[in-house]
Amino acid sequence: MSRILILSCLLFLAASLWAQEKQEKDIPKEQQPVEERKTGDSFIETLGGLPGKLVTLPLKIVFTGLSKVASVVDYNALALRVTDALTNEDGTRKVRPIFTPVSGGGLIFIQDNFLREEMRLRATGSFGARTRVNFYGGLRDTKLFSPKLGLQVEGFYKRVPDEDFFGIGINSQKATETNYLHQETNFEIELISQPFPRTLLAAGFSYSDVNIKDGRDPNKPSLLDSAAVFFDNPVPGLLGAEMGTLLVRMYRDTRNGTGNPTRGGEAYFSYEYAREIRGSDLGYSKFTLDLRRYFELFYQRVLALRVRAEITDNIGAREIPFYRLGGLGGIEVLRGYRASRFRDKDLLLAGIEYRFPIHPAVDAEAFFEEARVYSDIFDQFSLKNFKYSYGGGLRIKSRDGNLVAVIEIARSSEQLRFYFSLNKGLRKF
């Protein structure tokens, strides 16, 4: 090793002397005609730069490759072609990619003025791991019957093959994790009204057909096989059901932007009254309230507050299917836990999120959220035993605020979770 070093130094020395000797023969370079000057790197510089060049060669190749790819994409307007081939000039048609861990990746298609003015067609298709499939299609015309009364028709099919069930209640154990496949076909028809700007009211009926099957995760026990062993009480809705639901919903959106809002808020309220169609075992009513508010603290630093409550009740002696219970965990509620880690009839969540710009196209966020489920929030209300999670992430937005990719890391007492989502907000009611 030391020989190599000594040799290198000698070489260095010789080259320096050679360079010095060479320079002595010339007049000062500033007095030479520019076209006769040697303008490249000297031998010694080239030699000295060689080790570094070798070390960084792989990275250089990667970035050279990236630049070439970028050049081809740019020159052929590939990105524009993909987006614009599906988007018309006046902005009435939009196609955007979407991704969430629950639905997988796919596309959302929005066509305004479909069939008639004021009618909006929305359709999504997404696919994920283990044959995860989501299809959605909906038509909304807020002025179909009169300037203030319209109609919304929508339907979806989803197949989520590795849902988890840990039992019911805030004390459900991680050890009792079971796996199931949730398959659902849903059809909804609602009268809708926009009595005030930014406010949407809806009332209607929905039909759903749910099938519960063995999950596709081979490493976890199947819910269907293990329910009797793992849980003291029977799990209602274990076989799925066809249900009819009466719906009343209200949504108010006063945000100043859909991507990364800095002011305004969202308010969502719904009441569902659902009964099993071909049986008398299942039936429930559910209130849901979800409030979000955005405050600009200073210079685009935004505080986002959220409160969510769900109250679910049995109808008479009918049971509430376990998949309609309030669920905590996952990308929407209590991000530090697995999806639906805690389930019960009632749910309360409070979250605070602080967003701040780190680049014109990127905001960073830090969040903290606390929540718990109750079997009866009025009888058992307590501020104890709340579960919490905290974390941070990056929100990448496009110039028009439509394309928002979110990368998040969330931590809870049980685990650390990573999330990536793209255009999650576009799927709102």
């Binding site: 070093l5 005609p33 570094g52 970035f63």
Partner: protein, 572 residues
């Protein structure tokens, strides 16, 4: 231990090798770079914006990080200096640059005229669209007027009257006067009713496909533009450059198929020093895409002339509207700043974030209070700018400082702002930014310039301009200069001190010391009669001394020739 000694010894010898300098010879400074020899037409090149960005943000950064000699140069303050300067540390005229206002002050009329030859577009008759505009960032089209002249036409964006057209015209004239090649840009007004499309004109649609240009396309273009109350549009008409376009030049490397292009672009003083001028004009988008090489025929020679084009992202204009507040403060991808913001949870609010988003619709966002000439950030790191040394910066600052208040006003007036207050604001801001530029760079280098040597009855005096004092940044009364004679790199006299005046008389002792050196030479040649005066400047009346500037001058001994300045060496 031995290895350490060897390494240290090698470094010392390396440094000495680099520092060794052959004595100057008696010859006038190089005034022209002969880079206009006839050549075969080089291939036109395309530079993708994204390719340029990725290469300059990541690729080249990695290269630089791993370049050990570059780190060694930093450690020893032995930066690689520009390779096309002459002995007076100035730039010879070339196909890149022509010494103009800073060397030979232009008249107000000349400054206002700029590169324009008077070929104002004739908008009285039909204007024929002959092509879409694809060069530069601003959208537009190419039109032919009744006289058959072709112009690239650009508009102001809707809601921002005069913003980009005024910026384009004003910045073009400053850049031209500084010495760079720019297109002729004219302000004009067109009536959309006079627009017609020539047959066979195609345009790339949003899908990137060539389709016939239609009036619908023109209307879409006009819909985005700001129209006057009478339905006409104010435009900036950029006269088509003569010659054949060869695409942009890169700020790094050379055009390999141009035998005249011998100096790597990042080692060209005028491209390095352009950093200072671009920062002054808030031309934050100074990248390859905003340049153009033209294959021209001049004086029976065919060669490449290099142009700076598209100044739509300068002053307060951001190309697509007002410039963003972060422009000039943060690059397009400043990962260090992003990490810092994350670590401080956004509680650290940068001063520019507290600024209003625009001054006015016509001015956009342009200010001087937060402008930092030494830390100005361009959207994409520019390889020439990044290699600029203090000497390059000082040279660039001299270009900027060559514009007086009156001259700045005269050029800004050619932007034809409708609101007098907007015009005054731009003038005031440019003056303030100019002074900040001068103050900053004149402190980095000993700002003594334009040396002369005079001889009267055997008494020699070195005279010069102290640029800081002349600009009013420093007081002559508190300024002192100390100087000594050096011969062949060795000091032969003690320091003498001169206070309050920009002249250094050579004392009889100094003359004797010089003559003594000459007499030691057996065969005294003219080259042996070049001596140096090393000068340091103090702004505190002599309490502390700054960097030196060495003036090498021919000291006639025993003949009738006049003394003359041969070379300048500025400590970096």
């Amino acid at each position: 231990m031995q290895i350490k000694k060897l390494i240290v010894g090698s470094l010392v010898i390396f440094a000495l090798g680099c520092a060794a300098r052959k004595p100057y010879t008696l010859q006038p400074p190089i005034a022209e770079e002969n880079d206009d020899g006839s050549i075969a037409k080089p291939k036109a090149q395309k530079v993708s914006l994204y390719e340029d960005a990725i290469e300059n943000v990541f690729g080249r950064e990695i290269d630089e990080f791993a370049k050990l000699p570059a780190h060694l140069r930093k450690l020893t303050n032995n930066y690689k200096q520009a390779k096309n300067v002459n002995a007076l540390d100035e730039v010879p005229n070339s196909s890149w640059f022509t010494n103009r206002h800073a060397q030979n002050p232009m008249t107000i009329e000349e400054l206002q005229c700029g590169p324009n030859s008077g070929a104002v577009p004739d908008t009285s008759g039909p204007l024929t669209i002959v092509a879409a505009k694809v060069e530069g960032v601003s959208p537009g089209c190419r039109i032919k007027d009744q006289k058959g002249e072709v112009y690239f036409v650009k508009f102001d964006f809707k809601g921002f009257p005069q913003l980009s057209t005024a910026a384009e015209v004003i910045s073009t004239k400053f850049t031209y006067a500084a010495g760079y090649n720019t297109p002729e840009n004219y302000l004009s007004v067109i009536d959309p009713k006079k627009l017609q499309i020539a047959g066979g004109v195609t345009v790339k649609n949003r899908w990137g496909r060539e389709v016939p240009m239609t009036m619908e396309f023109v209307q879409q273009l006009l819909d985005k533009a700001h129209s006057n109350a009478d339905g006409t549009y104010r435009i900036v008409a950029s006269k088509a450059l003569s010659g054949k376009p060869l695409g942009p030049f890169l700020y790094g490397n050379r055009r390999k198929d141009d035998p005249n292009d011998r100096v790597p672009h990042h080692h060209r003083r005028e491209l390095r020093g352009y950093k200072v001028l671009a920062a002054w004009l808030n031309n934050f988008d100074s990248k390859a895409s905003n340049t153009l090489d033209m294959y021209v025929i001049e004086n029976d020679r065919s060669f490449v002339r290099h142009y700076l084009i598209d100044f739509g992202t300068s002053l307060g204009s951001g190309g697509y509207g007002p410039a963003g507040r972060s422009r000039g403060h943060r690059g397009g991808f400043d990962i260090g700043n992003m990490l810092l913001r994350i670590l401080t949870l956004g509680l650290w609010v940068e001063p520019w974030e507290k600024q209003p988003s625009i001054i006015s619709p016509s001015v956009g966002y342009f200010e001087s209070k937060l402008f930092d000439p030494g830390d100005y950030a361009f959207i994409i790191p520019n390889p020439a700018f990044q290699r600029a040394t203090e000497r390059d910066g000082f040279w660039g600052a001299k270009l900027v400082m060559s514009f007086s208040d009156e001259q700045i006003r005269a050029i800004v007036e050619t932007g034809e702002y409708q609101n007098r207050a907007d015009e005054e604001y731009v003038i005031k801001t440019l003056i303030e930014r100019r002074d900040k530029t001068g103050r900053y760079w004149y402190r980095k280098i000993n700002p003594l310039d334009r040396f002369r040597v005079s001889e009267q009855e055997g008494r020699y005096t070195i005279e010069f301009d102290d640029l800081s004092v002349n600009a009013g940044f420093e007081q002559a009364s508190t300024t002192a200069y100390r100087y000594r004679i050096e011969y062949r790199g060795k000091a032969v006299t003690k320091y003498a001190i001169s206070k309050g005046q920009s002249s250094l008389p050579l004392s009889p002792e100094m003359i004797q010391a010089i003559e003594k050196q000459f007499k030691q030479k057996a065969n005294l040649r003219e080259e042996d009669q070049i001596v140096a005066v090393a000068i340091q400047t103090s702004r505190s009346g002599g309490r502390s001394w700054g960097k030196y500037v060495k003036v090498h001058f021919y000291f006639p001994f025993g003949n009738e020739k006049a003394p003359q300045v041969i070379a300048l060496e500025r400590e970096n």
